[in-house]
Structure formats: C-alpha cells, structure tokens
C-alpha cells in the first residue's frame, strides 16, 4: 500500500518542500479541529498539530504524489496523538470492544439500539448543535476518531481503514456504533457509559 511505504529518498524532500507547503497549509484548520477534539484542549491540540506538520515535512519524501495527501497527513496526526500524553491516557480507557463482542461484525451490538419508530423528538434534537457537541464529547476515543474522519473529513471507508490501521469491517462497525451512541445520547440515555480502567 502506498501509505505504508514510507521509505526516505534522499534529496526528494528538498524538491518537494514547496509542494508540501501548498498541500499542508490549507489543511491546518482541519488538522486543528480534529486535534482539538482528540486532545480535548487547545494547548495540546497546538502541540499535536505542530508535531504532525514537522513529522510530515520530514517524511514528505515518502509521500507519493497522486495518493491522498489528507489521509496521509491525518494518519500522522493520529499516530502522533496515540503517543502523546492525552493519547496514552485515552488508550488506558477500554471503552467498547469487550462489551460488544466481535468488533468486526456488523451486527455486533444490540438490536435495541436502533429505534424502529423514529420519534419526532430525535429530529428536533438533531438540530440542537450544543446537544450534539455534548454527545460527541462523550464518545469514546475509537468512536470519536472514526466519526471525525468519516463525517468531518469525508474520507472513504478504505481511507479511514488506512489511517486507523484496521480492517474496513471494523471501520463500518465503529461508525455504526458511534452513530448509535450519538442517537442514544440525544435521547438522554447513556448506553455506553460504563468504562473499564485497564
């Protein structure tokens, strides 16, 4: 896979530096938004973005033109986050995988999670931006990152799978869980409130 072949080629970085600027600078606001959601505070988000950009710049020789630069950059952001203090703290919170069985199975959560009769109240709550943001803040990190990449960054499932280094089945499963979680939170329930400290 293209994104996995990050072998350096000497001299190539110099030739591509201006291109990096053209590609990366417009993505700074998006990087910052996702970094802030993940790190959950402005200071850590700035650190995360700066480290990501520097790492990407240094590794730009390994980026192959024609492939998805945004997915490549977000993968670096995500890997940087995982080794950051906030990322390590989040990693110790096991949220869902054990509770809902096989994470790759599309039917791996309770059927009751879907309301077959959609209440009008849900539609009204969907327009409440503050309520949705509050619900997103409660999303466990594995579900938050997948929903950010899918809904905000509009990456395709196969691109998300590359960024997160998981199978597409897991991506689908996590997206479905994330949305089920948001729906429940908007209804005032907390299906996944239980957290297990490792």
């Amino acid at each position: 896979m293209t994104l996995l072949s990050w072998k350096r080629e000497k001299g190539k970085a110099d030739l591509q530096t201006s291109t990096f600027e053209d590609l990366a600078v417009p993505l700074l606001p998006r990087l910052y938004n996702v970094a802030h959601w993940l790190a959950r505070n402005a200071h850590d988000a700035e650190d995360l973005v700066q480290e990501t950009v520097l790492k990407a710049l240094r590794g730009f020789a390994s980026f192959e033109p024609g492939t998805n630069f945004k997915a490549w950059l977000f993968r670096i952001l995500r890997n940087t986050y995982l080794t950051s203090r906030s990322g390590l703290a989040a990693a110790r919170t096991v949220a869902l995988e054990d509770e809902l069985g096989d994470p790759t199975g599309p039917e791996s959560y309770p059927e009751g999670i879907i309301d077959r009769e959609t209440p009008e109240l849900n539609l009204i709550r969907l327009s409440d931006r503050a309520a949705l943001q509050a619900a997103m803040e409660k999303l466990p990190p594995p579900l938050l990152e997948v929903i950010l990449l899918c809904d905000i960054e509009e990456l395709k499932y196969r691109e998300i799978a590359i960024v997160l280094e998981v199978p597409i089945g897991t991506v689908m499963s996590r997206i479905a869980r994330a949305r089920a979680f948001l729906r429940k939170e908007l209804q005032g329930g907390s299906l996944f409130s239980r957290e297990v400290r490792a």
Binding site: V25, Y32, N33, E46, L54, D115, R179
Partner: protein, 274 residues
Amino acid sequence: MTEHLSPSMLSALADGELAADQLASVKEHLDQCRSCTSNALEQALLKTATQKSAQHYAIPEEFQKRMKRLVAQERARADAAKVDRTPRTASRLRPWTTLSGWAVAAVFLLVAGSWWIERQSTIRTEAVLAEQTALVTEVSDLHIATLAANLPPQVLSSDRHTVKPWFQGKIPFTFNLPEQLPDDTKLLGANLTYLHNQPIAQLMYSIGQHRVSVFIRAKAGSEAAGKLPAEHSGFQVAGFSTADLSVIAISDVDRSRLSGLIEALEQAQTNGHV
C-alpha cells in the same frame, strides 16, 4: 431483502459506501419498509448534523500564522541548501565609466546581502531549534510510552556483551557500551524502536529508582547540528553526537547523574569499548 437493514448497512447508505448491487437491494427493501426508511432518513440527518456540529474548533489566528512561518522557514532552509550547491558563474568586466554606478550597486548589494545572510541565519537557527524540540518531544513520547507499557525490555540483560550483539542485523549501525558505569547506574536491557520510520536502539538504564532511556540512532547526512533543550515536560534531556551517531538520554533523574551516564557513553564511543 426481507430482514431489516443492519446499522452498518444504514451507515454505509448514509455515507455513500454501498456497492451498486447492495444499493439496489437496499432500495428495494426501503420501498417496502417504513421503519428502515425512517431510520435511513435519520442516519442521513445525523450525519449532516454531526458535520455541522463537529466543525467546532477554529484554529487560533496567531497559531496558524506561526505554523505558516514554520513551514515557510523549512522551505527557505531547503532553498538555501540548494543555492549553496549551485556553482558560481564568472562575472564579466564592465567599462570603467560605469564603475561609480557599480560601486553604488555593490554597496547596496553588500548591505542587502548582509541583511539576507543574517536573516537566513536566523531562519536556519529557528528551524534547527524547532527540529530539535520536535525530536526531543518524540523521544519523550517514546520514553513515556515505554514506562506506561511497564513491560520488560525486549533484551533483558545487564550484560553489555549480550545487549550489544542483540542488535546485530536489527539496526543499520553499531555502537559501544561503557565498561564502567557511574555509581548506582545499571543497564537493564534494550528495545528496538522506531523514530521517523528508522530503526533505532533504546537502551534502558536505572539510576537508583529512576529509569533512563538512551536512544541511539544513525546520524542523517543532512542533519543540522543544534543544541538539545535541557528539559522537556519536566524530564532531563542530555545527548551528544559523533560523526555517525546521535545519542539522546531522557529521564526524571537529576541532571548531574544523567550527565555521568552520558559522559560514560560518549567515552565508550571514543575509546571503542564493546
């Protein structure tokens, strides 16, 4: 399709991820199932609402400017390196009548040149400082991750004759380990880890109850020499470079004791202990 659509299928529908045959099958089911149609609508609305709500954190203007400057500095540094490699072209003599004009131009160029050189120097210094800070941050992250994992080293030995050979074939360089260590300092073992996608050695030492990570990596040919920050997030940082290697140690131990270990390591590279 007679069964209700699964949540994953509903999500994939909202995300436009269904293959043509799946889409046809789903549409056929939706035509007959009010419940799934309602859920599909809600999934689409939820996606739109999430898109709007999650665009929540605007990048601070000052930070964005700082990042643009940083990227531009890196570009300038790369450009400067290219200019340094460009061969000079011989200038041609001009008639003496134009000398005064040239003298003014020369003075101007001298002043502008000095300013430009000074500016390039500042830009290079800032860029090197930013690189060193980023390097120490990564090293700090690796050290914290090692402590957090609380796992034994990949090679668990206090014997330098065991630890050093363990790296044979794993890293594209080699290094020496000191025979004598400062008081209360002990080799615990080592890990093979990665920095900037390159394999590096992580030696684990203890100084009293304090854990120390010493990262040894091959020095890149284009790597600019710069002073490491002495501290990072409360950790003490020390290091040195040889012609081929770059060594960084990080720990929460006090600086003088960390320096003792670094000096022993540096001496070992020079003296060629095992």
